[in-house]
Assembly symmetry: C2
Homo-oligomer: 248 residues x 2
DNA sequence: GCAAGTGAGTGGTATACTCCAATTGCACCA
DNA sequence: TGGTGCAATTGGAGTATACCACTCACTTGC
């Protein structure tokens, strides 16, 4: 049952290869160093070049490597947190080497109401579990999070309460695996009560993030509204030109 | 074989297929309607299923379709601007149905200096073309943009001046095609002079966006610092869980 | 010495085929 | 009538192979 440890030989060959390549990137190789060629990787791992390509393409999307036809595949400069990946606050902080925590956690079961209902595609009268908490990193407030999960997907969640990672609980207790999310990021300023919760001056800049998360079956699992301190947070990512758009 | 009529027969088969599928998505099909099966598409276009899959996967990444094993591929709800794509301000506004413009355009050639030099991997003494302008949408200020391009990549740019799209000029005059960019988004508030330029109250919230753009050969083409009005701008995108990370 | 040319090696695109895993609808049975 | 189980269908993962386009280091010729 336990999810077969971290970077080992989990799942598909592609995933194994990915783990190996991530090891190379984060361990042995330095930025701008060349990875083995696709053909070499294919041979040493006993897989097709296509399988290797899929893994490398994925890493390219995430900005961890860059590829140049005729030359090779190279490690990117580490610089930026990859916000193109879907992570929970817990994961996110751990990736940054910080210890995640929560303050003032409140869990309650309430009717969805018009707005939350619309976000989660529920009737306004349907019940949702509402988790409200101040998230901390190394003990310092980082963001205010209001999360809503349809009660029928996670029965008893409100009674059970939340200790650590909501995502972990959703996965392990309710077998709800979030695979995709739509996220909308706004800039705002903190009104006095929020500023106080986050321990920053009034009217400090902040991010407001709205997120609707789905599982593999495109079922809505979670709606979250978060407010992040701008002084400790930024969104960094790599974007690509898709194909031949001529329109400049 | 008979070039199945009209649908942009540009470039690779994958690109042609993509054009056709985009036509379907934006034209005939409504959200949540089913696309043809991979096998059907492969047959009717005379390509391999793998080629079809690549095109569909790409559209999946962009959030335009969603796929469910055993069921099919479906059109996503249109909702959100896909900021996962790399676009110029000009393209971006046109995509939103607005007319892009510029105010107070200043183009000058100056030494890069320490910060800009570092961003563009130049010596601080190397010259860069600096373009400063207020970008407008339907005549109203949307953002303040400061762009820097290495002078040696675009000789004479400062003298020539900018009329419309910088990206268009870079492509057509200097054959510099931007393929990738690293972007960092911060939340901030507008100090009085900036607020005045954008025509909003002082200390209004805003996005500050830093961007380093590269061409296909990973050569740095552009560094841009932009400040966007938060009341008229948000970042909306779709993110995916990459693979089976266990760490929740 | 230095520029032009060339060829091996690299990633990019595509074919043709195979098996697996999840979904869904329909036939069948209780 | 109301499940229930099976089979067809669909997307997911992979193998084996071929050829193209671009890069880059090395050779060659001046």
């Amino acid at each position: 049952m336990a999810e077969t440890a971290g970077n080992g030989r989990t799942g598909t060959k592609g995933a194994q290869l990915r783990s190996y390549l991530l090891g190379l990137i984060e361990g042995e190789l330095k930025p701008h160093e060349k990875l083995p060629t696709e053909r070499d990787l294919a041979e040493t791992f006993g897989v097709t070049r296509l399988t290797v390509r899929r893994a490398l393409d994925q890493l390219g999307y995430e900005g961890r490597v860059y590829r140049t036809q005729g030359a090779g595949t190279f490690v990117s400069e580490p610089r930026i947190a990859k916000s193109v990946e879907l992570t929970s606050f817990t994961q996110d902080m751990r990736a940054r080497g910080l210890v995640p925590g929560s303050l003032d956690t409140v869990v309650e079961e309430i009717p969805a109401g018009a707005e939350i209902g619309a976000r989660l595609a529920l009737s306004p009268r349907d019940l949702v579990a509402h988790i409200s908490r101040v998230r901390t990193a190394d003990g310092e407030p980082m963001c205010i999070e209001n999360t809503y999960v349809p009660a029928k997907l996670a029965p008893g969640l409100a009674a059970r309460g939340i200790t650590g990672s909501l995502y972990q609980m959703l996965t392990e207790t309710y077998h709800l695996k979030i695979e995709k999310a739509e996220q909308s990021i706004h800039a705002t300023v903190l009104d006095p009560p929020l500023a106080k919760l986050l321990g920053v001056p009034e009217f400090s800049p902040a991010f407001k993030v709205l997120r609707v998360a789905y599982d593999a079956k495109n079922q809505r699992i979670e709606y979250a509204e978060s407010v992040y301190r701008a002084d400790r947070y930024s969104y960094d990512f790599v974007i690509f030109r898709t194909s031949r758009d001529n329109t400049n």
